[in-house]
């Protein structure tokens, strides 16, 4: 919890910038993705025989306030690890962008 408190304080203190974070959560490569398989089969049945390696994951978009983009990234990294993804079976990646830019 110490980490969060730190960020929380950081945010209270200095942050006045808004960032849009986009997080993509996917199953780890070695983990079976039944959804991906079903979607791939369906795409092929629809005639898209040129598709392969379909994986279905989660996409999370959020706005956060932070002092600077590095701080924002750190927080998004942390929340992705702690809540947005399940590290036992999932990987995540994210992008951060200042709002209104």
């Amino acid at each position: 919890m110490k980490h969060i408190v730190k960020y929380f304080v950081a945010w209270r203190g200095e942050s006045n910038l808004q960032f849009i974070a986009k997080v993509e959560v996917t199953l780890k490569k070695a983990v079976l993705d039944p959804q991906g398989v079903a979607v791939e089969n369906s795409l092929k049945a629809l005639g898209y025989n040129n598709t392969s390696g379909v994986r279905v994951g989660k996409y999370i978009e959020l706005t956060l306030e932070a002092g600077n983009s590095k701080d924002a990234a750190l927080q998004v990294e942390e929340m992705s690890r702690r809540l947005l993804s399940n590290p036992v079976i999932e990987d995540f990646s994210y992008t951060i962008q200042e709002a209104g830019r």
Binding site: A30, V31, L32, P34, N41
Partner: protein, 732 residues
């Protein structure tokens, strides 16, 4: 060979010596891996086998006892019921959703493997204290996973039980049970029969799922990348459902001679067990196994636990028809090899023979251990505790509300409304009753199903706790009017290599076996889960009993809900109770200690018989077993179920705490129309079963009096709030 290899694979030097002797040479690494998984506790039951032989496994109705994928019991009219329970504790501790889901998928396959149409799921769950966010995460994930798989495959989840105690914090228990039915003559066994028959794999592709304990010191595998690391098994209920339908179709059409699901130890287990059971051999080509990942080694292919796969043994002439069945659902099918006569399991990989092992040795050659056992110190210490010094803080009403709102007792609707319990349109009584009741469309009869276990009681006295588990599970069946015809058990314990743990195990199994004998109900299958420990701390010894009963007429199934105002309420059975180990002590006084009430199995048997008779004669409105929380909780629950109140007079009593909250076996709360009173009195007298008149059903309020003093008065709404909203509050 470097002797590190087998030790790293969990085999002892002595076991390795036995392997060399049985094979007649040193096994290669692939072979050693196969031994490692098959001679693991999970597959070989090496610490439990000799104790399990205490169970009575025969009976006039038993068609198949332990030893196959599931037990089979005759239910008349040419039909049989097939059932088994299995644990998925460790996977659920790591990934609760998938752990529970694959547990359900695994037990489902055990049932349809035999040729039975699955008709119901049950589950028994244990978690730590819900104050802990990780525990809440596990609880929510497990419930979601059970529903996620069961709902999707379209088999109703009709009953279960959930308890909480800090001892399960890092090691939750997830025991899943499945029940199926089939015409007696379509039973298929997991045997690789018929030399020359084809060995076929159907279903999912094989990936690196759940290849655990396989830490290789060899050079070829030393560069294991991140991606090669064993992966959590993920269930695919959609595929599971198609596989079930297609497999059952091949069985109905008599296209297969043997069927085996893939459980723990994957291909290795399926191949060696089917060959060993049939006294044959099998030769397969690993290159034919459809893989999900590139570069899988033979040992990985052979020990992968990828879900949703089945092994079929098929006569060559029937292959085309089998293919047609699986093609309808676009299910992958691969011919791996054939049945041979030499008793060996042989596997080829890229044209080379990588495995050649005697099937009997791999599947059944593991040693059986008789571990040391010793009575733990706590046992006598805790039994000395005198609970009579624990009066209810704040009065009886407050204590009852406290009990009703304790997670152990409170309504589990928050969990079971997430399970589809009415799909298949056969559920006559779903979750929330004493036992679930499903009707059998094919014969017009009914099955009653229940799952029970009490770790706390078993901890305090494993011998009595074991007996209680069997007695309670069967008593629940009798409460709906069903005759118990067989049980399956899941034995969840700590590390059996510790003498105190093995003592718990041995005592519990002895008690269970004795109860089964006295109550004349055979054990036809089950599962043992050892090593339920975190950092050396074991869970309570938790044997769980899944019981199956037969009802001639499901329309006569008795409920546990009070009926109309004016109905009489009585206690049927033995009045002896104890506060030792009671839910009251735990929930209201924060104490787990004391001596348990004894159980008289002969009396229990008579009581259950009489109860069934009363129900068959349609003399009762409701019947409820007294368990956690004793009389007070049973009364409250019956009131809530029937949306009725009751006025109860206990007469002159010295120890009201004991009367209201004490627990003991062989006690049933019944209610009936006043007109049936004489008949019920006569029938219970006939078998010398005490019948105590308690009171009558009224509107809206539960009132308990002792000698004209009102000692407890609670409105239905108060009780409903305590009982019904706990989980929504805690879990959101």
């Amino acid at each position: 060979m470097d002797n590190v290899a087998w030790r790293e694979l969990g085999l002892t030097d002595e076991e390795y010596r036995m392997i060399v002797e049985q094979v007649g040479r040193e096994p290669n690494l692939t072979e050693l891996n196969m031994y490692s998984v098959m001679w693991s506790e999970h597959c070989s039951y090496k610490h439990s086998r000799s104790s399990l032989s205490l169970f009575p496994t025969c009976g006039p109705r038993v068609i198949q006892g332990p030893g196959e994928n599931a037990g089979v019991v005759d239910i008349g009219d040419g039909w049989a019921v097939v059932f088994k329970i299995e644990s998925h504790n460790h996977p659920s501790a790591i990934e609760p959703y998938q752990g529970a889901a694959t547990g359900v998928g695994g037990i489902l396959r055990d049932i349809f493997t035999m040729g039975a149409q699955p008709v119901a799921f049950l589950n028994s769950l244990r978690f730590g204290d819900l104050e802990d966010p990780r525990v809440r995460y596990l609880f929510d994930g497990v419930v979601a996973g059970i529903g996620g798989y069961g709902n999707c495959v379209g088999i109703p989840t009709v009953a279960g039980e959930i308890y909480f105690d800090p001892c399960y914090s890092g090691n939750p228990l997830v025991n899943a049970m499945c029940v199926g039915v089939m015409p007696k003559d379509s039973l298929v066994l997991g045997k690789a029969c018929g030399i020359g028959n084809l060995v076929i794999l159907v279903g999912a592709r094989t990936g690196r799922d759940g290849i655990h304990g396989v830490t290789f010191a060899s050079e070829e595998l030393s560069e294991e990348s991140e991606e090669k690391r064993p992966a959590v098994q993920v269930g695919d209920p959609f595929l599971g459902k198609l596989l079930m339908d297609a497999t059952l179709e091949t069985i109905r059409k008599s296209l297969v001679c043997g069927v085996q699901d893939f459980g723990g130890a994957g291909l290795t287990c399926a191949l060696t067990e089917t060959a060993s059971r049939a006294g044959t051999g099998i030769e397969i080509d690993l290159d034919q196994v459809p893989l999900r990942e590139e570069g899988m080694q033979p040992y990985e292919i052979l020990t992968s636990e990828s879900q949703e796969r089945m092994l079929l043994i098929v006569e060559p002439g029937k292959l085309a028809e089998v293919e047609k069945v699986f093609q309808r659902w676009e299910l992958p099918l691969a011919v791996l090899g054939k049945v041979t006569s030499d008793g060996n399991v042989v596997a080829l990989y890229r044209g080379e023979k990588v495995v050649e092992l005697p099937a009997d040795s791999v599947a059944g050659g593991a040693p059986a251990y008789n571990p040391e056992y010793r009575e733990p110190v706590y046992y006598n210490e805790l039994a000395k505790f005198d609970p009579s010094v624990m009066p209810p803080p704040g009065g009886f009403g407050k204590a009852l509300l406290k009990l009703l709102s304790s997670p152990d007792v409170a309504s589990k609707e928050w969990a079971w409304r997430r399970y589809d319990y009415s799909v298949r349109t056969c559920t006559v009584q779903g979750p929330g009753g004493e036992a679930a009741v499903i009707r059998l469309r094919e014969t017009g009869k009914g099955l009653a199903l229940s799952v029970d276990g009490n770790g706390r009681l078993t901890y305090l006295n494993p011998y009595i706790g074991g007996m209680m588990a069997v007695a309670e599970a069967t008593r629940n069946l009798s409460c709906v009017g069903a005759e118990p015809i067989g049980i399956t058990d899941c034995l969840n314990f700590g590390n059996p290599e510790k003498p105190e743990i093995f003592w718990q195990f041995r005592q519990a199994v002895t008690g269970m076996a004795e109860a089964c004998r006295e109550l004349e109900v055979p054990v036809v299958g089950g599962n043992v889960s050892f090593y339920n420990e975190v950092e050396g701390e074991a869970i309570y010894p938790t044997p769980v009993v899944g019981a199956v009963g037969l009802l001639d007429n499901p329309e006569k199934a008795c409920s546990n809900a009070l009926g109309s105002e004016g109905d009489l309420i009585c206690l049927l059975g033995a009045p002896e109770v104890s506060l030792g180990g009671s839910q009251y002590l735990k929930s209201c006084c924060n104490k787990v200690a004391g001596r348990l009430a004894d159980i008289d199995l002969q009396f229990e048997k008579r009581l259950q018989e009489k109860l069934r008779l009363l129900i068959a004669e349609e003399l009762l409105v409701s019947a409820r077993d007294l368990s956690d929380g004793g009389l007070s909780v049973a009364l409250a629950e019956s009131c809530l179920a029937g949306n009725r109140g009751a006025v109860i007079d206990l007469g002159r009593m010295d120890n009201l705490v004991m009367q209201l909250f004490g627990e003991g076996p062989s006690r049933i709360l019944i209610s009936f129309k006043p007109g049936n009173r004489d008949k019920i009195v006569m029938l219970s007298k006939e078998s010398s079963i005490p019948l105590t008149f308690l009171g009558i059903a009224i509107e809206n309020t539960l009132i308990i009096k002792s000698d004209d003093d009102i000692i407890l008065k609670l409105s239905l709404d108060e009780m409903k709030e305590a009982y019904g909203e706990v989980f929504s509050c805690i879990m959101g």
